[in-house]
Symmetry: C2
Subunit: 139 residues, 2 copies
Amino acid sequence: MTGTERPSLVEQCRDNGWRITGQRRVILDVIEKTDDHPDVEELHRRIRGIDPGVNIATVYRTLNKLADENLIERHMFDDGRLRYEPAPDAHHDHFIDVETGEVIEFVSEDIERMQDEIARKHGFEIVSHKLEIYVKRRP
Amino acid sequence: MTGTERPSLVEQCRDNGWRITGQRRVILDVIEKTDDHPDVEELHRRIRGIDPGVNIATVYRTLNKLADENLIERHMFDDGRLRYEPAPDAHHDHFIDVETGEVIEFVSEDIERMQDEIARKHGFEIVSHKLEIYVKRRP
DNA sequence: TTTGCAAGTGCGAATCATTTGCAACAAAGA
DNA sequence: TCTTTGTTGCAAATGATTCGCACTTGCAAA
């Protein structure tokens, strides 16, 4: 048997007191199916594939609200646009393939631990962090 | 005695075939004196303090050219504007104090080493990387 | 089931940092 | 000094994101 399922985004939003509109249903649905790191334009493209009437301003507003409540994660890599992914179960960092633009997730307990240590040494407490490694495939 | 001095930015630019105009002399001078991570507006403010006639478009153009030739380093932290610092002698990463906006540099050989290792494990070669730790001061 | 109304939406205009086109200007080599 | 190009200032363009506002719609309470 599988572990406890996380409630759907729609349910989580309803719990947070959001009105579930037709547009939001579509937007949340698309996000839930996301297994990459699309930017707003790409998300809007996917959303329009289901309901062509959803305005991009609505997409922006919804994404901001979701990110504010930590229901999705927002990134900005070196191309300068915002990219989104569903809230991950566990923190991870990213490789970005500079040749293809592909984003690959990775986890390193060791690196996390060293960050804590060095922050502590400097008298800081970590609020969040971002590690992006720009790479190319080794021949 | 001190080690070999790095040639001034003006000299480096001249070596790269740039024309050394009055504006550039001022811009390069201000950058050379920089020991923080100012954004373009702040740099322009400092430059205007010396020569009020330097247009911000010129500042942008010069910064881009410098960054293209790796004579300065460009960052974009979570506030969404470009910030610059003189090309560092050695790679370092950044703490960003979320309460004050202050940027603090740090170096960790250990973290660098682990990044190499994990990249290798994934079949990648590192092109560059960026580690930003958003922190607040520990009480 | 209807209704009231605050929350949500579409649309176009506004914003903000950054870039660009172009005519005037000025380094630097001949 | 003259000539050739690279640079500059200015204003207009860009491109991603946000905002104002009139219209619409979920949904709680009647």
